[in-house]
């Protein structure tokens, strides 16, 4: 065992890369849940994004086109969920699960001929001098652009929810769809858009996984990232800034255990691989134990079916 092989600077730098897929998916799901919808299909949308992005990038040779297609792919499958829950008034839990199962199957089908291919590399920040500054350079100024894009997105969501009228309406719809309807807001339309935004974000998260983090395509490669993203939204008690914290925490755990594996710690690999999932459970328990606090932020209409009858 050689723990000195773990370089703290590289650890921090790589956790930022590692957490980006979850961060993207989680910030999208946060917006969805703020509108009062619980979409358990994050995993499915993410993996669809992963394969759409991967395939498009390989075919066109352009990672940017890949990311665009990933967002479109994620949003497209989220439309199925949106139609089911908003127009067909289906149970959100069941519909979300269906989306995950469907996404896993469909992605594996699309991805058949892409196994083992290397995708084109994405644009990486490389500023002369600044990127070479010790410690700060690798941590802040030499990442793949997705890392920065995700941060900008979190900032944007935070600003949107807090300072814009659109954000206020979204929160109002998530708080009480009946009251929002009575005031004449289009509940279904708002939620439909939120779900599609969530789908696009999850798609981007998937592409960040298949194009940047791994980068290659394997069946079921999201391996629960979508579910962890859902857990992070709970952990963050529906606050964008805390989603960032949560995602980095999980990214940190994932990277640390990989580093420990590489360093040859005497704990078997399988038990190290379990750690992100176990940590997720521990965090969920800790959050629910002081529920009174976090419940204030939970959208009151979360998961309830809306049907404007009279």
């Amino acid at each position: 065992m050689d723990l000195s092989a773990i370089n703290p600077t590289l650890l921090v730098a790589s956790l930022m890369v590692a957490s980006t897929p979850i961060l993207l998916a989680a910030i999208g799901e946060l917006v969805v849940e703020k509108s009062g919808i619980l979409n358990l299909g994050v995993e499915g949308m993410m993996i669809i994004g992963a394969i759409c992005g991967f395939a498009a990038a390989v075919v066109t040779g352009s990672p940017m086109v890949g990311f665009l297609c990933a967002a479109i792919g994620g949003a497209a499958v989220s439309v199925i969920f949106a139609v089911l829950t908003q127009y067909f008034l289906s149970n959100q839990v069941a519909s979300g699960l269906a989306l995950t199962l469907f996404g896993l199957g469909l992605s594996a089908m699309i991805g058949q001929s892409y196994v083992g291919i290397k995708p084109p590399t994405t644009y990486k920040l490389d500023l002369p001098l600044i990127s070479d500054v010790p410690i700060l350079g690798p941590i802040l100024f030499s990442h793949d652009f997705t890392v920065y894009a995700a941060l900008v997105l979190v900032l944007g969501v935070w600003w949107f929810l807090k300072y814009t009228r659109g954000g206020l309406i979204l929160r109002a719809v998530g708080e009480s769809h009946d009251a929002a309807h009575a005031l004449g807001y289009k509940v279904v339309r708002v939620r439909f858009m939120a779900i599609m935004f969530g789908g696009a974000c999850a798609g981007l998260g998937g592409a960040a996984l298949s194009l940047v983090r791994v980068p290659q395509w394997t069946e079921g490669m999201t391996a629960g990232s979508g579910w962890i993203a859902l857990a992070i939204v709970v952990f963050a008690s529906w606050k964008p800034e805390r989603v960032l914290l949560g995602a980095y925490l999980f990214g940190g755990v994932a990277i640390l255990q990989l580093n420990l594996q590489a360093a040859g710690v005497s704990i078997p690999v399988e038990y190290l691989s379990m750690s992100p999932y176990l940590i997720t459970i521990v965090v969920l328990v800790a959050m629910s134990a002081n529920r009174a606090k976090s419940a204030l932020n939970a959208p009151a209409a979360l998961g309830r079916v809306f049907h404007a009858s009279r």
């Binding site: 269906a98 989306l99 199957g105 089908m109 709970v234 399988e270 459970i281 009858s309």
Partner: protein, 361 residues
């Protein structure tokens, strides 16, 4: 413009018709999907739904129907009770693995002792393993109010790692020339979950699945506990008013579904699969979710849905070899089935009407 109108009470007709309609819609949707893959849709649908039952090799496939259907039905019966009460155990896959590990672990530890008590003990341990694994989300939910969906699901990944660890370490076959995987339980008479009638596909798991169906049916229709489960799902507040202890119900629903999933895993590992190895779990725990919904959370419905889903598995495998249809296509196909089912379910509770320019949706 189409408009929805809530029925005064749910339509009985549509409750039965909806799953049928969903299956037909899925055949059409699946056909389109297969056509996009460049396969002949009609041939693909025939291979999936017809050939396993009536082709010249049907004698081989029909028993497979029971072998694949039994774990699905066992797991789905357990899940359906929780789903009815609004308790979402979606980690059956993990409970399935742990049940298998408990049962197989016991047998492997005793190898090569032969005794008539080994297999019954394995059954008990399989159920116990699944039960204990499901108790983790159950207790966390009752003690801290932690979301059981996420916890039970996270535990699937943990269980998969445990399975990997066991097949590479503790349970590895010492005479296996270093290959991963345990001894094959099919070659260990006392532990083998053999067919009761050779060639019929009926093993102990099938018997247990049938018993679970009957038991669940009686429970839901006649027993206080079943009534409490239904009531809690319909209206949690009314359930509390009726004096139902929600925590006890959570323990029961998660515990029993865990135990059934564990049983399914045990029967699988001691029978059709035979061996503890990384590829042991094949997604029955997730497909059972579709089975539960397709069967409308009704025990008899689940039995039919389980057989139908087993059919698509077998048909999928045939299509894989004869048409070169990708293995994942059948998974997407099953997901699509659930989508259509959820969509047509609308007709049970709502009427669709034409309306002039009424803004309702």
């Amino acid at each position: 413009m189409l408009r929805l109108e809530k029925r005064p009470s749910p339509s009985q007709t549509w409750a039965y018709l909806a799953p049928v309609l969903a299956v037909i819609a899925t055949m059409i949707g699946g056909g389109v999907m297969f056509a996009l893959l460049g396969k002949d849709p009609f041939e693909a649908i025939r291979i999936i739904f017809y050939d396993p039952l009536f082709s010249e090799f049907a004698w081989y496939y029909r028993p497979q129907l029971l072998i694949k259907g039994a774990p699905l039905v066992l797991i789905a019966i357990g899940l359906s009770m929780g789903f009815r009460a609004g308790i979402w155990n979606i980690g059956a896959e993990g409970q399935y693995i742990i049940g298998a590990l408990f049962g197989a672990g016991f047998a492997l530890a005793l190898y090569p002792t032969e005794s008539p008590f080994i297999f019954p003990s394995m059954i008990l341990l399989g159920a116990l393993g699944g039960f204990l694994w499901a108790m983790i989300p159950a207790l966390l939910k009752t003690k801290f109010g932690t979301n059981e969906i996420l916890v039970s699901l996270m535990l699937v990944y943990v269980a998969e790692q445990l399975l990997a660890s066991m097949s590479l370490g503790l349970m590895k076959n010492p005479e296996g020339f270093g290959f991963p995987g345990s001894r094959n339980l099919q070659q260990y008479d006392s532990a083998h979950n053999a067919e009761i009638w050779v060639g019929s596909g009926v093993h102990m798991g099938v018997v247990f699945a049938l018993m679970a169906v009957i038991f669940a049916y009686v429970l839901l229709a006649r027993h206080q506990l079943g009534f409490h489960i239904r009531l809690t799902g319909e209206s949690p507040k009314a359930a509390r008013f009726a004096g139902i202890n929600p925590n006890r119900l959570i323990i029961f629903c998660l515990g029993s579904s865990g135990a059934l999933a564990g049983l399914a895993g045990m029967f699988e590992i001691a029978g059709p699969s035979g061996q503890v190895n990384i590829a042991f779990n094949s997604g029955y725990g997730f497909t059972a979710i579709i089975v539960a919904f397709l069967g409308r959370l009704n025990p008899l419905g689940i039995m039919l849905a389980g057989l139908l889903m087993a059919l698509t598995y077998i048909g999928g495998e045939i299509a894989q070899s004869s048409l070169g249809l990708p293995a994942a296509a059948i998974q997407a196909f099953q997901g699509m089935l659930l989508f259509f089912l959820l969509a047509v379910d609308l007709l049970t509770n709502f009427k669709i009407k034409w309306a002039k320019a009424e803004v309702t949706l």
